[in-house]
Symmetry: C2
Subunit: 121 residues, 2 copies
């Protein structure tokens, strides 16, 4: 792993962890783990994913807040969105989540030289 790869992995880990640091984003991920349980009333097949509108209805927050949370989860690679006509359907990326949790644990078990600015004092 080169220094650049290591910096990329570190930054991805930071972004992923930050994405998990909000209860609503964790709740969205948890619900997307069991779409049949939490989004059974969706008109479209759940094999497409869960429609953004369904996720919004399941949360006690405004549409714009939920949109921002979904965007943050997607930017961190923890969910994948797919546009079908006027709708966007989301699926949880289980592999990415497992990889993130494994990386987090590994980083707490062995020090990594964080690519930081030089000592300033």
């Amino acid at each position: 792993m080169t220094i650049v790869d290591m910096a990329d992995a570190t930054q991805g880990l930071d972004e992923g962890i930050k994405a998990l640091a909000h209860p609503v984003r964790r709740a969205i991920l948890a619900k997307l783990r069991e779409p049949e349980r939490y989004f059974a009333e969706q008109a479209q097949p759940l094999s497409l994913g869960v429609c953004a509108g369904q996720i919004e209805q399941s949360c006690p927050l405004s549409q714009s807040s939920i949109s921002a949370h979904l965007a943050a989860l997607q930017a961190a690679g923890l969910i994948n969105g797919r546009r079908v006509g006027p709708y966007v359907f989301y699926k949880r990326d289980d592999l990415a989540i497992e990889r993130l949790l494994a990386l987090l644990r590994a980083s707490l078990d062995r020090p990594e030289c964080a690519p930081e600015p030089e000592k300033s004092s």
Copy 2:
């Protein structure tokens, strides 16, 4: 668990996760896991913990930056500081870290009603 307890646990989880979302803080935790390996040159017994000055020397950042990171880790309950004369010695709280990682995983596996403001639109 009451609503208040649940809110406290959620807030503790958020704060703990945020504390882990920085590579320097993760590196400090990882080094404190093996004091004999990373801080063998400390004059005082490592059974006291690792002196703040030793941690500062091991990181390519200013003293004030490391102090702030140590304060964040302590506020999140992931390390414990103990003052002995002019020095502060830190130990990693393994139990707290394991508890945090377990809570994080649980929160991704089952939705929790996050105590959020009411739907505003």
